[in-house]
């Protein structure tokens, strides 16, 4: 069982590794989006500190959506998605492994960049830790939930705008949790509650989302 899971994981990783360009695009998008906030709003340090959690989170959210666009589309085009759905492995498990691999490639780099961005926005060490932690728990949730939308819209002509529309309502609670964790910690509020809620959300989406994605993909391939 472990061996099989590992095999699936390394298989997805090799595939994703062949698309380095995508990772670069997503990271570039994230960095530029974050940089636009000070340019567009103000460089006032106090104000920057206030908007920092929201700016970083919103940029991470849209980067995730951007990366999700490629999660299934190429596999659908070349026919490998069908083959995956016929593998003698529970599809939800296969998808869970795949989503984790996708997060490692496109989500984890955002988390690792977060401390640098925190410095740009003049956050203190503690605040940076909280920001990074909130993204570390939050971005996998974004990927897990987002995959449902990606699975429902894969192969459609104008899927980009549509997937954003489908995902925004799903993402609101996570966005609220993530940003308020950071801004609460700035005001010296205890953020254990935020993190336990986010941890719970992560667990629930880890368990439920692969099944939802599997159902959505079956519908899409029908």
């Amino acid at each position: 069982m472990h061996k099989m899971l590992w095999k699936l994981f390394s298989r997805d990783m090799t595939l994703f590794m062949h698309r380095k360009q995508d990772v670069v695009t997503v990271l570039g998008f994230f960095l530029i989006a974050v940089a636009l906030f000070p340019l567009g709003i103000s460089s006032d340090p106090e104000l920057l500190k206030t908007i920092a959690p929201g700016a970083v989170w919103i940029a991470a959210l849209f980067s995730t959506v951007l990366a999700l666009d490629r999660l299934f589309s190429e596999d659908l085009d070349d026919g490998t998605l069908e083959q995956q759905m016929l593998m003698p492995v529970p599809i939800a498990l296969l998808l869970l492994v795949r989503l984790i691999a996708h997060w490692v490639i496109t989500g984890l780099p955002l988390v690792l960049l977060a401390p640098l961005i925190g410095l740009q926005f003049g956050l203190s060490f503690d605040e940076i830790v909280i920001l990074t932690l909130s993204l570390l728990i939050g971005t996998p949730i974004l990927v897990l939930l987002g995959a449902i939308g990606a699975a429902l819209t894969v192969g459609l002509k104008s899927s980009g705008g549509l997937v954003t529309l489908l995902l925004l309502p799903l993402y609101v609670p996570i966005l609220i949790l993530g940003t308020s964790a950071v801004s609460s910690s700035m005001h010296g509020v205890d953020v254990t509650a935020h993190f336990s809620l986010m941890g719970a959300a992560l667990l629930v989406s880890l368990v439920l989302s692969p099944f939802a994605v599997a159902t959505a993909l079956k519908i899409t391939l029908d």
């Binding site: 595939l15 062949h18 026919g79 490998t80 016929l86 593998m87 003698p88 391939l221 029908d222």
Partner: protein
Amino acid sequence: MLEIEGLAVEREERLLFSGLSVKLSAGEGLHIVGKNGAGKTTLLRALCGLTLPATGVIKWNDQDVTEFREAFCSDLLYLGHKNANKTELNCRENLRLALGIQTISDEEVGDALHEAGLGMLSHLPTRFLSQGQQRRLSLARLLLSKATLWVLDEPYVALDYKAIEWLDSILERHLKNKGLLVLTSHQTLTMSSTIRVLNLGEQHA
């Protein structure tokens, strides 16, 4: 043994076929024919569980395939219209990928590619291959697969006469080894083994 009972598939408000019942036992082949739009591809996809039928049951070894999906899929090999090759990977990597979690040695992969006439090209990314070569690459997985039920959608497309002979020999060997085969093809088959024919156009009145 494969059993299809009362299968009906609907597309865009219209029944493609209905009341389709077929039994296929070990060593038997089924050639599905019918005019364009009769639902040949849809039938194959429904058989694999990719398309949801309106009614009907598909049984593999007396078990409903929707309930015992994993058992069915481990015996099933499906080749669709698309070759299911990743253009950025080379032949070896693609073949390994296509065989999923099955463990195979490097020699076996090399032998299969050699037999498919891709021995020299095995380290090239597949985007450099021609249509026929790509097709042969995806057919090479037939050589390594342990599946007993092969479901092939137009496998002869893009093959030259030599490759057609090669595919015929593979399919015949599979049937001799008590394998099951379901395929669609526009051409009349050149295989020497006899194979049942199912005409989809005549199925629904």
